[in-house]
């Protein structure tokens, strides 16, 4: 009898847990249109497992909005951020995006971090003819008509990384590891195609759930297979357990370096720099980028959010894309999202990490690929850097080149690449 009640009550509690949904109210907007203010949506996770990274992106978006308001606003109007919480759940993202577009009628939305949340909101932006500025590095293989992507795509983060690793770390055999969802799987697919083209090979590819913490068996497997390098797309809190287990099992970055497309300064701080030191990451921006513009920006961020705050790639994009939006709105002269997207194309901005440009064809960003090696203090020493920004090619893994573009202003050319045929 005891056991039965035990199990019953467990079932009840599970049901209760699933009911909990958090929502934070929107900031009060004043007059909707034509007045002295302009509503913009800010949609990141402020609760749930991904708040760790997304909170910093939320903060830097609001920081940019404040700066723009202090300098007179956009088209003479003050920006009013309508803040929504995506709660680390793609379904909540979709619901909030719909709310922002339909009932708040925002001019644009700045938001989203994971590929899963973007996939959930994109159809809504297309349907309601809205505009999304998406600040995160992505897996490519997307050609959205109602969004501007300001983070890196594979030819700015993966191509250069694998090439550099093979040449400079003398790596031939790669172990691919990632979290189990669309971004890591697609990134691994891209990496495999590059490896094949360049005469490398992969010895295994493994995917673990997002919150996985028992890395013992997987790291033992790495030890047995002895790859030259690990290509990692591990996301979120399980990054911590991964790097810690790696060192605890006696593996060193000299023997098997972890090359990550996800572990930035903010994850490094959480893992503890002593566990990450020596490993590599590839991003177009590192806090250590040595330019006066970046030094000023980092100082401003620390001033505002505390001396222990670190800056990272997605946070930097969250910041400068708001300034691109300002230019776009002023160029378009009115607040129609479709006209503003068109106006965004080709715009340039002197971002903390160097010059960036919105590509006139596919609406992704021109960024400068960089590779950093983690140091004992958790900062990255830049070991490889391109001379200038590189044109984004979201379909590079499928044969896209600068001369032969798949994604243009008229959408994806399905005669060159058909996503339906690529399902595997």
């Amino acid at each position: 009898m005891k056991r039965r009640t035990f199990i019953q009550t467990m079932a009840t509690s599970a049901a209760l847990t699933s009911v909990v949904g958090c929502s934070r109210g929107a900031a009060p907007g004043s007059s909707a249109d034509g007045g002295e203010t302009m509503k913009v949506g800010v949609l990141f996770s402020l609760t749930g497992g991904l708040e760790i990274v997304e909170k910093s992106m939320h903060d830097s978006t609001l920081m940019a909005i404040e700066e723009i308001n202090a300098a007179g606003g956009v088209l003479g109007k003050q920006l009013v951020p309508v803040v929504e919480d995506g709660a680390s759940d793609p379904r909540v993202f979709a619901e909030k995006a719909r709310k922002l577009l339909i009932s708040d009628k925002v001019a644009t939305v700045f938001g989203c971090y994971t590929g899963a949340s973007v996939k959930a909101v994109l159809p809504i932006f297309t349907q309601h003819k809205g505009l999304l500025y998406y600040p995160t590095y992505a897996q490519g293989n997307e050609c959205p008509s109602h969004a501007i992507y300001t983070g890196a795509v594979p030819n700015q983060q993966v191509t250069n990384f694998i090439d550099w690793t093979m040449k400079n770390l003398n790596a031939k055999r790669f172990f691919l590891v990632g979290s189990n969802y669309v971004f890591p799987r697609e990134m691994a697919k891209v990496a495999k195609i590059f490896l094949q083209e360049n005469g490398g090979e992969f010895v295994a590819d493994e995917y673990l759930p997002l919150d996985h913490t028992q890395w013992g068996p997987l790291v033992s497997k790495i030890k047995e297979l002895k790859p030259d390098s690990i290509f990692s797309n591990v996301v979120g809190a399980s990054t911590v357990a991964f790097y810690r287990e790696f060192k605890n099992q006696g593996l060193t970055p000299e023997a098997i370096p972890i090359c990550s497309t996800v572990t930035s300064e903010v994850e490094t701080q959480a893992v503890g720099p002593e566990f990450v030191a020596g490993h590599y990451s590839s991003f177009p921006y590192f806090q250590s980028v040595d330019t006066p513009a970046n030094k000023t920006w980092v100082a401003n961020v620390k001033d505002k959010f505390g001396a222990n705050t670190v800056t990272h790639h997605a946070m930097e994009c969250s910041y400068w894309q708001v300034h691109i939006f300002k230019q776009a709105a002023e160029k378009a002269g009115e607040l129609d999202p479709e006209l503003m997207r068109k106006a965004s194309l080709g715009l340039e901005y002197d971002a903390p990490g160097g010059l960036v440009r919105i590509d006139p064809d596919n609406g992704n960003a021109w960024l400068t690929p960089r590779i950093g090696q983690c140091q004992a203090d958790g900062q990255y020493k830049i070991v490889d850097e391109y001379a200038g920004p590189v044109k984004p090619l979201p379909y590079v893994a499928y044969g896209e080149t600068e001369q032969n573009l798949y994604c243009t202003t008229s959408g994806l050319d399905t005669t060159k690449f058909n996503p339906q045929e690529q399902q595997s």
């Binding site: 068996p217 809190a237 911590v240 959480a270």
Partner: protein
Amino acid sequence: MLGSLLSGLSIGSVLLLVALGLMVIYGTMGVINMAHGDLVMLGAYVTVFSQRLLHVPFLLCLPLAFVFTGSLGWLIERLIVRRLYSRLLDTLLATWGIGIILQQVIRLTFGPELQNVSVPVFLTGETRVGGIGMPSYRLAVFLVSVALLLGVVAILHRTDLGMRLRAVSQNPQISACHGIDVNQVRAWTFALGAGLAGAAGVMVSGFNAVRPTMGSSYVVDSFIVVVVGGVSSLAGTVASAALLGGVNSVMAWLTNDVLAKAVLLLLAIAVIRFFPKGLFSAQAR
């Protein structure tokens, strides 16, 4: 293969570590403590706090966290759980609420971001035991969980409190007739269970991300261990932790971690189907 058995042992010892406190409270008091995972989380934050502000060495955080979460457990029993005995659903709801409050308090004081705990150098890297390399930290987790287990056994079977506790868990009315202060015994039991959760939190903080929501996965894991092992049996908890850890590790080595987790849950279902009272159940009377 040998390596995967060893890592199974270490997974098992983590399971045992987090399930021990839950088992003490449920097995002897019949209260399902939904705040258990959050007490583990609190233990981890005690480590973060004492390292950062008091500069206490890592291993000394163990007694600190034990005392801190234990006192908190004592308070929880005194103020809330005491009023709800023999109302299973209500205790469940109340302790779950306490868990949410703890999570929010931590979120408001430490912020939502991941915290990191530094581990002493001698606990990183490998230790050679008889020619086989074992991660030192895993070895430490194993030793701590064995020590805590022995501690619990000693308390239950060698002390006056343990004797009273066993008497109360068998029949509170008759124990009261014999002059045992039932309320006091229950308060101390709850404190012991909560303290064990806190100590588990310290060890967990060394290899896992410390954040306000970290408790939820541990509460699920430890419930599975306790259910499979038999809810009121210490030996069962040990056996099921070892079994589940071993199966998880060997399956992960043979196939992959996702499949291993599925096999684990299937195994738990099978055990409950054929041994509804768990692997080791107390004799029915």
